[in-house]
Subunit: 252 residues, 2 copies
Amino acid sequence: MNKLGKLIGVSVGPGDPGLITRRGWELLNQPEMVWTYPVRNEKSDSFALGIVLRSGLELPAEHTPLIFPMTHDLEKLAKAWIRAAQQVFELLTQGKDVIFLVEGDASTYSTFGHLAKSLKGLDKNVEVEVVAGVTSFSAAAAVVGNPIVEVDDTLAILPAGYGVDTVENLLNDFDSLVLMKVKPLMDDLLDMLERKGVLADSVFVERVGAPDERVVRDLLSLRGEKVNYLSLLLVKNPNRVKGEIQRGCRKK
Amino acid sequence: MNKLGKLIGVSVGPGDPGLITRRGWELLNQPEMVWTYPVRNEKSDSFALGIVLRSGLELPAEHTPLIFPMTHDLEKLAKAWIRAAQQVFELLTQGKDVIFLVEGDASTYSTFGHLAKSLKGLDKNVEVEVVAGVTSFSAAAAVVGNPIVEVDDTLAILPAGYGVDTVENLLNDFDSLVLMKVKPLMDDLLDMLERKGVLADSVFVERVGAPDERVVRDLLSLRGEKVNYLSLLLVKNPNRVKGEIQRGCRKK
């Protein structure tokens, strides 16, 4: 019987292959590894794989797309995770080590956690390694040239879909917001940011690090525009009044 | 007259030299670069430089520590930033390109933003490049093997010094918290996490990726213990009730 292989989630960063880590790079250059990578359906390209191929690496002999449909239907998602886990497990039982290519960072809004969990559900002894990566918001802030948080700042990160009211309330309590998945709510968000007087302190970044990256500082120019699914808003509230220092730090 | 050199903030990740990015690595391997790196005082080691030296690279011919004292005194800090900016500017006017080694990610609780801002204050035409990196919390979550946020989760990141009450309130509104600089408040935080019933969903990580990294899941064992300045708490509240879906997303 073969020794069970291990699953390695390799975070490849949000788009620029230069942001792949040295550890990730080392693993991607091991020819005996099997690569797996997420696709939305059988016909679609994998964004994560695209990042790696832009680095100049080629697909290894063995590689398999894993289907993770774009849906909020938890039942469909759970089925997809289990099916993907079974595909990976089959490879592991052949003694192969399997890489799963993760766009961005494996611990931040990634499917990797579900894949790893489903795999542990099949065999709790499966070894899983996670290679951390650069998040889209760190990469976006670097491109913009403006830090997200400094010294005693507070930061909230959330899908914009929680609604404009929620975002507006958080703006009172946090120095900095990262709004993910802004696509369906862009116009409402712009109205609110304008009303709060923080438009000039906000930046829109789409597909950061990819060849078609877009950085928009004049946010009003986005009104009525269609934006990509892979886009985010970096919002700052420089007017927020901070609390007092408590034990060498701040009290709210 | 020399062409003005540029300043490059190279994020080297939180401790493991394997988390340096390919772009960072490429820059660090250019022998004509001048390295600068933060130290607390003239006698102390640089944590950021330590990460790079652990990778096997050696200090280039030209290198300069920049002093950033550990203080909350804004006047002292501002003086240090300006002094550091002047040192860098002197090198740039000689036509040299200067790397500043950034621990973690340059956009997330880093001194790099202040250095860059102070430098632009000396000459607004100075070119500054930022190479994004892996944050301590992404690296910590990877080591722990538990994602920070998934799907529609919300995340708040803040220095724990805002106080236990603030943290407790945020626990009601967020699925996941990253508490930075937990050192001065550890015991009070532990009491609160125990009272809220989320101790089992919280993990303490110290100096992630460094040779003396420490991961503590049994948080109560930390009571009364002294912890390192470079430590954080990953806290989750699995009991939080989420809002409704709004436009394919969630309403709070």
